[in-house]
Symmetry: C2
Subunit: 267 residues, 2 copies
């Protein structure tokens, strides 16, 4: 009997190829398919869908392991680091580093959640946007847990269920999943959510430079506008549910067309 | 008679504070209000909504001019450069550099269009997203014209009309305008559009490093999927119309909820 071809999985993240979160994701997904990791050399939090334009980009093969080792059913694993952004990693992978078009593109597991409008800043979500732009089913996984000591492996059943489901059923055209896990285990369940609205306040920390002048670190705290609303991802996370927020590539504000026409923007 | 307070306008871009495009925007808007520019030190194309997390951010005052100079009706002008991304510039401006909350946040004029899914990568659009996250009416202006020798001043009437209109009527909640100008003047009119879909192909240029190894520059060409469709911004630009694409901050793919529920993602 000929063995069915294993799914080919492209992984990336924005915390760096050697972060705990992506390490857990690799372990969780090894039984499911062949894995190619193309992830940044180091931390790239807040990369959004940025690309590297002013300096060249390089990649380096870090690790390679064949599938079926020691009689296991595991797929193969190849890990590349890349000097660019998460989006660069996906573009680099698809043009040079994949033996064929992957069956799924996955970002994560991000250290820290990407719920609500934080998704806009997120490199993890950038990975899923780029995968979706290439018409490949894509998912971003993030956890409210932040520490490198976090046991992300406890997310295995939830991640396997979602990835297998996407591999089996696909996703609607132009849509990917932003999956966020709450801090406290076990979870109460999984909810399909809308993106909550919110914003950051006190966004900069000021420091004196030892040789004069000031410099600033981005920081701040997130203020939810609608976390009380049970339809939001923020509510789901705050109440112990895994939040799956489907995101569309089409950002058009269709419901505003009439306002713009009524107010003389067209003509 | 007491003079009415002039509108306060925050400008940024992703081509650098001294680019031709933002220079034209300043000239075009001086008669309309007081202007504060906070823009990157140099080019930051493809910045999306990225923030700078791994190095600190600084700003520098480059230029200052009072309003009403030589009896003109012009507003004041203050220009800052910033070491960070376009999004950092907006965050820095709002926290430290504005005398009060601005009446409008404007990105541009970008050298090169940000139509269709290119908006996802755009620092110009990042500026408008950040302004909208702060609940300030926001607009991104981009032109298909790319060169630093381009006469962006010919866009004056169109830009003034749109900016005055936004200042007067505001914009729907969570919505900003992505305005793209065609290459050839005069324009046939202005259309309210949806975001076209498309993707990039042949995205990397490979070079040999003089001391061994390879490096890569991001490049490629854009392939429109639906530029034949008259409702898209791509069609408008290709047919000589100014394209106004309203964009929402809420990227939720509401129409996919049923698919996800039907396929066992919730529970």
């Amino acid at each position: 009997m000929k063995e069915a071809k294993k799914p080919l999985i492209l992984l990336s993240n924005d915390d760096g190829f050697d972060a705990t979160g992506i390490g857990a994701l690799i372990k969780i997904l090894r039984p499911i398919g062949d894995i190619i990791v193309v992830a940044p050399e180091g931390g790239r939090s807040g990369s959004s869908l940025s690309i590297t334009g002013t300096v060249p980009v390089k990649y380096n093969k870090e690790y390679e392991e064949e599938g079926g080792k020691e009689g296991s059913d595991f797929g193969s694993l190849t890990v590349y680091s890349c000097s660019g952004t998460p989006c660069d990693c996906v573009k680099m992978a698809l043009e040079f580093l994949m033996p064929r078009r992957p069956d799924i593109v996955i970002g994560g597991i991000n250290h820290g959640d990407n719920a609500a409008t934080n998704a806009h800043y997120s490199g993890t979500i950038g990975i899923a946007i780029e995968g979706t732009l290439k018409s490949i089913p894509s998912v971003g996984f993030s956890s409210c847990a932040f520490s490198n000591e976090e046991d992300f492996l406890r997310l295995d059943k939830h991640i396997c269920h979602i990835v297998k489901n996407v591999l089996k059923n696909g996703l609607p055209e132009k849509v990917f999943l932003n999956v966020n896990f709450p801090d406290h285990f076990p979870f109460k369940g999984t909810r399909i959510c809308r993106m909550g609205m919110g914003d950051w306040v006190d966004e900069w920390i000021e420091r004196d430079h030892p040789r004069g002048g000031k410099y600033f670190w981005i920081a701040g705290s997130f203020k939810s506008f609608d976390g009380h609303d049970e339809t939001t991802d923020i509510w789901a996370l705050n109440n112990g549910f895994v939040a799956i927020t489907p995101i569309t590539l089409d950002f058009t504000a269709y419901e505003s067309f009439q306002f713009l026409k009524d107010n003389g923007f067209e003509g």
